[in-house]
Amino acid sequence: MSDEYNQNNTPLETQSSETMSGSSGSTTDIDYVRPAELPEQDLYHSHSWITKWVFCQDAKVIGVQYFLTAVFTGIVGLVLSWLMRLQLGFPELVPFITAEHYYQFVTMHGMIMVVYFLTALFLGGFGNYLIPLMVGARDMVFPYVNMVSFWMFFVAVCVLMASFFVPGGPTGAGWTLYPPQAILPGSPGAGMGIILMLTSLSLFVIGFTMGGLNYLVTILQARTRGMTLMRMPLTIWGIFTATALAMLAFPALLVSCIMMTLDKVLETSFFMPAIIQAGEVLDYGGGSPVLFQHLFWFFGHPEVYIVALPAFGIVSDLISVHARKNIFGYRMMVWAIVGIGGLSFFVWAHHMYVSGMNPWFGFFFATTTLIIAVPTALKVYNWIVTLFRANIRMNTVMLFCLGFIVTFVNGGITGIFLGNVAVDIPLSDTYFVIAHFHMVMGIAPLMVIMGAVYHWFPLVAGRMLSEKLGKWHFWITFLGAYSIYFPMHYLGFIGVPRRYFEMYDSPYMASAIGMNEFITVAALIVGAAQFIFIYNIITSLRVGKPAGKNPWKANSLEWLTSEVPPVHGNFGEKLPVVHRWPYDFNVPGSKEDFITQTTPPSEVIDAEVEKT
């Protein structure tokens, strides 16, 4: 330990680069920014093709690698959802979809979408690309570990996909993998399938721990001069809090996976009670299935916030830039993100109201669940107030932001229904739950991802995406997704159960048949519409309008790189020096309608900027 920040005794910068008078440390110098505490990062430079494109240590390349891998798994998940919908809407149409296969599709769709698509995309994809750029660093603090983390994720995906091809196929236990059924022969894939799933999850956790260390240390300890925590874009706050949650929640998943693997492989009885299977008494005994549920949801609830918080952060930035207005109540938005993150560890058993756990727990968890709704609602109000009387550019990005707000409010409200114990009991394990979590975790964050791609594609590729195709993509996706999930609320109310292979011959479910057909058709149309998006991306890479520097006229540092797309080292010779927050849009008295973070106060002396 040392009492000098600078551990290596190399000379530090002692002057702000914007000093007008040439004196340093003068209290009348309005452009003064504290000198650098640390020497410049010792950046790794690749020398071979393999270390430049395959085992690359540059966070931008790693970010794209995560993005592409995650999107690939997402497409697999999307195809699985089409197969599920085909079975539900037109039961005898595809004989290949047996009950066994259906449950396997349900399970893999869920696990892929939640963990391998959304988490990897937000943290690995957006996190890696944007964090160093937005905090003003040249790269992540541990580039080698960052590279290893991607390849761990890649191996985890390979192991997961391998489970499709093993005898018995992938596990069909539901993405929640509840024991004892998950490892007993009654469930599909109870052989190699479940083992590969558990192995893949463990590898994923190890990889994301490595990645998470990078994101946290970079954000906390490697910001550029002038970049305080309260001057960071909300995108970073969202990803940062999500990463902190990941570091603390994934351990519970790892532990539950290890214990379930031991139950399967070594016939231990951590989760396995005494069981009679088809007349035969098994060797298990004394274990507790509800313990798995507690461990799983201790991970599982923070996990959904790991998906939601980056979405919250990103959408705040997208709205702010495309409405040319500062995000309303930035400080409270930050505290809301942090508060939601902290509280998310105390609400897990609202997923377990009907599990047979200690009955008194319902009181505690319903209370904390309703409390966590408060900061979440606060954020929604702030987004809406940001849009009020703003100079809104109704482009594709803004449309996706508006779509996010609508679907998130819808999904959030149904969450209040489910958060109350008594109301949850008839709704649990019905399509109401499916509607709720798809709205709030599927559609809303997906809207943000799409909006974010339209927003940052000009930076990453140097070209604009087509607005016309973008608008077609948005409207079909938004209206289509609503057509899929809104009717499901009604299906849930009449009691249609989830994870059912078919509707059977029950009288009240006959009314659901027409609805299911409608939903299936909508799902297939929305699925097809994504090809517009993919086509847009692929063609714009070649023939898209060149973006130039900062086409959206945004303020944050990622748009202020020396070259577009940004190259290794990000900012050229000199690191940026930050003087303000990234939300100085339409400031009274300013010549332009935006003031970038690096603009020194002396250049905007007439503007009534907030002190940030």
């Binding site: 504290r34 080698y144 519970a252 790892l254």
Partner: protein
């Protein structure tokens, strides 16, 4: 304002607020690698906490009697059963290795290469001894019929939790021992004095790496303190 001296910063809560509100770094004077290790240890604490919580839940809800740990873990010395003797020796060894590690960090920062290197080596040997004793304990119990899926002394879960928790801890100790031997060699060679670039990461070596490894090693000792209390003593 350009003073980088930690001693001149306010302490306590006011200092924390100022640190958090400042630009560049939130944790003054904490090198990146050291902070990374702390976060990793926080995450690993959650892993072991989940294991121990599961153990607590399993043991508290068993209707079959839990084995008497004093008897199961006793060693026979000259025909007299001494309860928890092996565990006591293992605790002694691990705490000693923690002590040598703390001293190694001190001498490393004082650039005393020889003392640092010998102390890191002593820590490594202590760790190796611990692992050896753990392996001996495992073989003794397996010989007596304790298996992950059942055991002759009481509730099935005893063996399951025992092997899983001590196994996980043992793996952590073993990884630490490997790194300790590697770092002992690096210190003897003078890599930390010359700042030689590492093989994998290509980053310059520095004595802070000894402190980082030390944090990991103390964590391993900490986990043992908890396992000792909850599993063997309780």
């Amino acid at each position: 304002m350009s003073d980088n001296n930690l001693n001149n910063l306010p302490g306590g809560f006011k200092g924390m607020a100022q640190d958090m509100g400042s630009d560049q770094t939130a944790f003054k004077g904490v090198q990146w690698g050291k902070f990374m290790m702390w976060i990793f240890l926080l995450s690993d604490t959650f892993v072991f906490s989940c294991f121990l919580i599961s153990y607590m839940k399993g043991r508290s809800s068993t209707v079959v009697d839990w084995p008497n740990t004093s008897e199961v873990f006793s060693l026979h010395v000259g025909g007299v059963p001494v309860p928890l003797l092996l565990i006591a020796i293992m605790t002694f060894v691990l705490i000693t290795s923690s002590g040598t590690m703390a001293l190694a960090v001190k001498y490393g920062y004082e650039k005393n290469k020889k003392m640092c290197a010998w102390l890191v080596l002593a820590t490594a040997i202590g760790g190796l001894t611990f692992v050896g004793m753990q392996v001996f304990e495992w073989s003794k119990l397996i010989h007596e019929g304790v298996r992950p899926w059942e055991n002759p002394f009481g509730a099935k879960q005893f063996g399951s939790f025992f092997f899983m928790i001590t196994g996980f801890h043992g793996v952590h100790v073993s990884i630490g021992v490997i790194f300790l031997f590697i770092f002992a060699r690096k210190t003897f060679r003078g890599d930390f004095d010359t700042g030689k670039r590492g093989f994998f990461t290509s980053q310059k070596s520095d004595y802070v790496a000894i402190e980082i490894l030390g944090l990991y090693w103390h964590f391993v000792d900490l986990v043992w303190v908890f396992i000792f209390a909850f599993f063997y003593l309780w």
